[in-house]
Symmetry: C2
Subunit: 445 residues, 2 copies
Amino acid sequence: MADEEQTSDQILEEDTMQEEQSTDVIQTDDISGSDDSPKQEKPENTEKPENTKEKPKSVKEKLKRDMEQMKEKFSKLLLGEDMSGGGKGVSSALALSNVITNLAASVFGEQHKLAPMKEDSKKRWRKEVDWVLSVTNYISEFVPVQHTARDGSNMEIMVTKQRKDLIMNIPALKKLDKMLTDCLDNFKDQKEFWYVSKDANESEKGVQRNDKWWLPTVKVPPGGLSEDSRKWMQKQKDCANQVLKASMAINAEVLAEMQIPETYLETLPKNARDSLGETIYKSITVEFFDSGQFLASMDFSSEHKVLDLKNKVEASMIIWKRKMTQKESRSSWGSSAKMERRELFEERAETILLLLKQRFPGLPQSSLEMSKIESNKDVGHAVLESYSRVLESLANTVMNRIEDVLYADEVAQNSSESNDEESDQTSTSTTISDVMGWKGAQGET
Amino acid sequence: MADEEQTSDQILEEDTMQEEQSTDVIQTDDISGSDDSPKQEKPENTEKPENTKEKPKSVKEKLKRDMEQMKEKFSKLLLGEDMSGGGKGVSSALALSNVITNLAASVFGEQHKLAPMKEDSKKRWRKEVDWVLSVTNYISEFVPVQHTARDGSNMEIMVTKQRKDLIMNIPALKKLDKMLTDCLDNFKDQKEFWYVSKDANESEKGVQRNDKWWLPTVKVPPGGLSEDSRKWMQKQKDCANQVLKASMAINAEVLAEMQIPETYLETLPKNARDSLGETIYKSITVEFFDSGQFLASMDFSSEHKVLDLKNKVEASMIIWKRKMTQKESRSSWGSSAKMERRELFEERAETILLLLKQRFPGLPQSSLEMSKIESNKDVGHAVLESYSRVLESLANTVMNRIEDVLYADEVAQNSSESNDEESDQTSTSTTISDVMGWKGAQGET
C-alpha cells in the first residue's frame, strides 16, 4: 500500500508541477532536533554544531525538505486518506492511528537481528513519531488550580492544561521508546554471538529456535557465552520485558477507555452459549472452575485458534455484562441467583482473557479491539493506543531475539558438556510461536 | 477568538512543558521560500544566499520556528477546533475554511490606506496560505490519458492527477493574490496623495467619502492629482477590479458546486409567497417584469435590508426549482402552465440575485451560502471558496480606497475651478456603503 501511494504521488508530481515536494519514503537524515524527554541523552545531536558550520546550506535544505515532508504527511492526515478531497475518508483519530501503525511496520518490520536500528530508520521513526505526538500537545482540558492572590487569599481558578491521560502517558511512552532503541543500540559492540544467513551451508549455520526458517541463525562460541555476557543478555532481556509490560498496560488501559461501538454490539449473538459453543460454554460454567485446567484443555495449535478463543470469550464477557446491567435497570426483583451466576462467569471470562494476554503477547488484535480502534474518534486515545501497541510489538520482537541467543547459548553449553541428547528447550518462552513452534512465516512485528 | 486561543496556549505551555512550540501570533520573518507561481518574481528570496552565509544558525532557527508553527497549525486543524481531542469538532474542510477566514481577517483587517502591506503581515499571509494550499496538492483523481506504447500503438491508461478544479483555480487564485499585493506595493512611491488622521484638526483634515468616519482622510495637492497620476490611479483601479471580478466568479462557481444542505432545505417555507412576503412576491410575479424597476422599488437603506432581500429571493428560487423537479418526477401530466410560470419566476429570481451581487460586492454571506460552507465536507471546495472569498473582499477594499482618492481628487478639482457649489459625487461607486452612504463602522474587509 505504501508502494501504491508512492506511485500515485510520482505521477501526480510529474503531471501537475507541484512545489518542492519530495516523495522519498526513507529519509536519509534528520535535523529536526526532536528530543525524547528533557533529561535523556541526545546522541544524534552531538555532531550538529560542526554540521552547521561546515555546510549551512545543506542544513537549510534538509530542514526545508523535512518541512515539505511534514506538510505532505499532515495534508494527507487532513484528507483522512480520502485523496479525492471529498471528506469521505476516516476520522483524524483513525488516520493518525494508521500513520503510526504503518510507520512502525516499515521501520521495525525488519528487526530480525539484535543490532542497532539503521540510522536512517531510527531518524525517520523519531521524526515522524514526533509529528504525530505534536498533535497531542494541543489537546487540553480545563482544570481547577489553587491561586494565591496578592493579598494572600487563596482561590480556585480554572486553567487550560494538556489532557491528563496525555500528560501521564505520552512522556512514559517516549521513555519506553527510548529504552527500547537504546537496548538495541547496546548490541552494537557485543562480540560473543553473531548471525549466519538462513541460506548458508548446513555446516556453517547456527542455531534456530522453533523452525523459524525465515530468521537468520544464531552462532555463539563453542561452550556458549561467557558468564558476563550471559548476565548482560539477561539484563537486556529484563529491560525489554519492562518495556513490554509497561506498554501492554498502557495499551490495555486506553482500549478499556474506548467505548464499545454499536456496530460491534449489533453483531453479538443473543447469549454466551451461542458465542462460545456448547463445549467451551460448559467448561466455563462448571461448578468448580480452574483457569489453568481450562487453558490446558484448549486447542492452541495455531495463532488463529488462540485468537478465535479470545474473540469468543470477549464476546461472552460483554454479553454477560450487558445482561447484568440491563437486568438492573429493568427490574429490581430479577432472579438474584441468575445475576450472581452471570457475575461469576463474567469474572471467569476476564481471568481467561488476562491469562491469554500474558501467555500470548503479540497476539493480533481481537474483533472487539479492532472495532474500537476503527470507531474511536478521540485523537488522544488514538495516539496513545497506536503508539503503545507498536512499542509492545517491538518489545516483544526484541524479547524473542534475545531468547534466540539464550537458546543458542544453551545448546552450545549442552554440547560442550558432551551431552549428545537432544536438549530440551528450557528457557522461558514468551510468545505464541515460541510456545507452539508454529511453522511458517508468522509476522512478529 | 484568536486572543482566546493564544491565552490558553500560553497557559498550556507554562504548565505542561511543551517542546519548542512558539505561540507568536505575528511572524517577524519568513524564510519558508514559498513561491507564488513558477513564473513570478520572488522578491523575498533575493537576499537569501547572503543570509545563509552570514548567519546560518539564525536561518536554521527560523526554519525550525516555522516548522513548529506549522506543526501547531496542522495539529489544531486535525483536532477540528475541538481542543478536548474528542473528535467532536468540525470537518477538515470547515477547519481549513475557518483558518483562511481568520488569517485574512487578522492580516488584511487594517488595510485602511493605499500602502504596501506590512512586511510582517505579508510574510505571514504567504506562509500560512501556502500551508493551507499545500493540502490541495494531495487531492487527486483518476483521469484517462493517451499513452503511446513502444510499438507505436495508442492506448488509454488511467493516471492520478491533481483534481481538475484545483489545477484550474489554485494557480489562478495565487496569481490574483499576487496581483493584488503587487498593486498595494505600487503605492509605495506615490507622492501625490497622503492620509491625515481622522482625529486631526478640521483645518488639517482631508476628504472623506460618505461619512466613513473610521477611516483616515485623504489629502491631494490643491487642484488635484496630476494627469499622469490620475491615469496611473485608474490603472490600479482596473487591476483591483479585475481581481474582484475574477475572484467573485471563482467563488460563485465553487458555491454553486456545493450541495444545498438538508438543514437549509428543512427551514424553507412551503412556498415562495411565504418566503418573499406578499409585496415582493407580487412584484416578482407581475406580468411584465423589469429587474431595474424592481430593484428601484426596494428599500436598500441598510446592508441588513439588502441581505434580507437576498436571503428571501434565494429561498424562493430554490423553492421554485424544487417544485419544478418534484413535479417532473411525480407526474408527467402536471399543469404545464404552472410549470412554465415557475420557470419564469425562478429565472427572474436568478436575475435579481445576479444584479444584487454586481451592485453590492462585499455583501456578507447569505443564509444559503453560510449553510453550504458549514456543511461542506469537500476539502478542495473549502480551500477554493475561502481563498476566493477573502481575495474578493480584499480587492473590494482596495477598490474602495482608490475611489476615496479619486473622490478627493475630484473635490480638489472642483474647488480649484472656484466652483463653490457642493460637488456631486460622480465617480463610479462600487460598494454597498458607497452607494448608500451608510453611517457607522460597517466592516469592509
